[in-house]
Symmetry: C2
Subunit: 82 residues, 2 copies
């Protein structure tokens, strides 16, 4: 069995409205020392399987076809045997 920890974020070229809103709110809350904010989605998938390469390919296609909008977002994931 494997656990995939998937991070999906906006591409650097895309303005991230939620991160901008958080920066504004933090400034209003007097958190002047916050230099940068990154916002994204986080998924954990638990998958049956014994062949790590096959599971890695599967997670990649799940990200491409479902979890990430590849036009605007990028993803990365860690895969660990559990």
């Amino acid at each position: 069995m494997y656990k995939a920890k998937i991070y999906v974020n906006y591409k650097p070229s895309v303005l991230d409205p939620k991160a901008e809103a958080i920066k504004t709110a933090l400034t209003r809350m007097d958190h002047q020392n916050v230099q940068d904010v990154l916002y994204g989605k986080y998924f954990e998938l638990t998958l049956d399987g014994t062949d790590e390469a096959a599971v890695r390919d599967q997670v990649e296609s799940i990200c491409d076809q479902l979890l990430a909008n590849v036009n605007m977002e990028t993803y990365r994931f860690d895969l660990e045997a559990v």
Copy 2:
């Protein structure tokens, strides 16, 4: 300077509609080996500061007051010097 990696998820007692929708979609896409799906928000904050304990307290209050709905969500974070 510190980087806080923050994970915000629904409490186990709260039904996670997005995770349920993803499970359904994965089954329809014939990914029968996916045993569980966890969905959450992921934030990275870069903060000026030299006192780790003070930065830790600050990140905690930012989570409590802004990034997490503490009625329905839990959060955890890693803090590393950068």
